[in-house]
Amino acid sequence: MVDEAQGGNAGFVPSLIGTSGETLREAFGRALTGLADRYPTLVVLDADVAGGTGTHHFRRAYPERFVQLGIAEQNMVGVAAGMALAGRLPVASTFAVFALRTIEQVRQSIAYPRLNVKLAASHPGLDAGPDGASAQALEDLAAFRAIPGMAVVSPADAIEMEKALPVILDYNGPVYLRTGRSPARRIFDESYVFELGRGRIVRDGADVTIVACGVEVARALDAADLLARDGIFARVVNMSTIKPIDEALLVACARETGALVTAEDHNVVGGLGGAVAEALARTTPAPIEFVGVRDVFGESGEPDDLAEKYGLAGPAIADAARRAIARKTGGTR
């Protein structure tokens, strides 16, 4: 196994794209490596994308606990199931779009027998950027959320990734963990405590609640800034656990702010927006606007440019918030 840090004889080393800032995939890879001693049964499985998913850090430090399966994701997922049955704690990692091709293997070989396997997927959504639509998974949250008993987590920044990972490893059951390709803006500080299944209010407000996950949390904060200029105070919730969703927090937000917006780097069908609507429709119906990719495929481009074009950036979220507020019955604005 050749480490990508070992270059050729001229001293040239290929630089990884998008690793200059705090990417969720780098945070994931470093946190995973740091947890190896604490979790002696931890093994990391790869399908030839370790340099992209961040697991190259683990490979370098613990080569004997790193299993290369080649470009064969379906087999990797089955191998993870078998290693769990053999008493290991497998974390299998690939790109989100390739995780989608393992959906039946995850369902059948991992979730149905409720094996303790974690599937960590990088390069989700339009955040995957210039590789274009074929590399931009817009369906993963919906697909993995639909599998019985599967937890789905999408952290917002590097700190949350670092705090979430040991909680996910301690949780005894299958988890889909969405990381990210591009540098993610800092949301939390070191005092942050991650709880699986709990959302977190990262900015308070009384007029509307923006429920976001992943890279959209930073953009939701941008939207809150824009709205504040007009005297509209938006609450921003980081809903990093998409499943099981924090229904109690959502109900409280619906009651207290009367309208909601969901924001996700994902198709508007079946992801965070769907989960929020399902949670509220039964007990606390409120106007909800959905920010996400509108049931189309993306294209090549830089993540922020794509976010603007496809309506995922702060101004689009702010517009959605205004629409949600306008739909409040007896609304004040």
């Binding site: 093994v43 299993v67 399966l69 080649g70 064969a72 379906q74 087999n75 997922v77 089955g78 191998v79 993870a80 199931a81 078998g82 290693m83 769990a84 049955l85 053999a86 008493g87 290991r88 497998p90 039946e104 293997q105 059948q108 070989s109 149905y112 027998p113």
Partner: protein, 278 residues
């Protein structure tokens, strides 16, 4: 060894009876695999007993999960669950599901979607490497049309997993028709050799050949072994042998189960003893 033959016959009797009692199931595939399962569960496999689960016990993965009535029969005969449990096969709230699950005592992997169990076996073999445990996986021949099988085969060859033994129940038939007419598998032994496996081709109904192949697998520690077992679909039941239509999930009518049990040496007055579903 001498009673492997009688164990295999008993596996066949129980399997067809379970399928009759449940009103559905895959008899042809159970009958072709029965001798191999008898040789595993009453010979080759080192099993943990129910009270003690030694870490180095061997594992068996029925990747062709639709043959589970035969597996359940073998597990029952090895004492993993009692006769009453057999009556739960395919019944609401029952222990014995229509495909094998790890909730069933003695079942080492949840299977049922072809191609997936073999990857699980590979993961078990990787995870148990160096422990003394060996891992066996039984695959159907039609199952080999799944691409995932060859992903796993390539990885097992790459990692030289001498603790992994695959058994192909090569009965030449799949759900719809003969393999040959559905999707040709030949040259099958050459395919496995090309994936860096130790290959044995045997008569899957000859216990001497099965035993010799297992011994060959045991002795081969630098590569995984595949035993390509030539078998007869529906083996032991006159009207099923070599007839593809008995592969699929079928209902065995009263006259059909009577004839099947008679072919398997159960006289009419003993047949009520096989009415597990009550």
């Amino acid at each position: 060894m001498p009673d492997l033959r009688s164990r295999a016959v008993e596996i066949r009797r129980i399997a067809v009876s379970l399928i009759h009692g449940a009103g559905s199931g895959h008899p042809g595939s159970c009958l072709s695999a029965a001798d191999l399962l008898a040789a595993l569960y009453f010979g080759e496999l080192r099993l943990g007993d129910q009270d003690r689960d030694p870490a180095d016990r061997d594992r068996f993965v029925l990747s062709k999960g639709h043959a589970c009535p035969a597996l359940y029969a073998a597990l029952h005969l090895r004492g993993f669950f009692d006769r009453a449990a057999l009556g739960s096969f395919r019944r609401l709230g029952g222990l014995l599901q229509g495909s094998p699950t790890t909730t069933i005592p003695g079942v080492d992997a949840t299977c049922g979607s072809l191609g997936q169990g073999f990857s699980i076996a590979l993961g078990l073999a990787l995870g148990l490497r160096g422990s003394g445990s060996r891992v066996f996986a039984m695959l159907g021949d039609g199952e080999l049309q799944e691409g995932q099988v060859w992903e796993a085969a390539m990885a097992a060859g790459h990692y030289r997993l001498g603790n992994l033994c695959a058994i192909v129940d090569y009965n030449k038939m799949q759900s719809d028709d003969l393999n040959e007419r559905t999707m040709r598998l030949e040259p099958l032994d050459a395919k496995w050799r090309a994936f860096n496996w130790h290959v044995r081709v045997i008569d899957g109904h000859d216990f001497d050949e099965i035993g010799a192949a297992f011994a060959g697998a045991r002795a081969t520690t630098d590569r995984p072994t595949v035993i390509i077992a030539n078998t007869i679909k529906g083996k032991g039941v006159s009207y099923m042998e070599g007839v593809p239509s008995w592969h699929g999930s079928v209902r065995l009518k009263a006259e059909e189960i009577r004839q099947a049990l008679a072919d398997l040496g159960v006289p009419p007055d003993h047949q009520p003893g096989y009415a597990f579903h009550g």
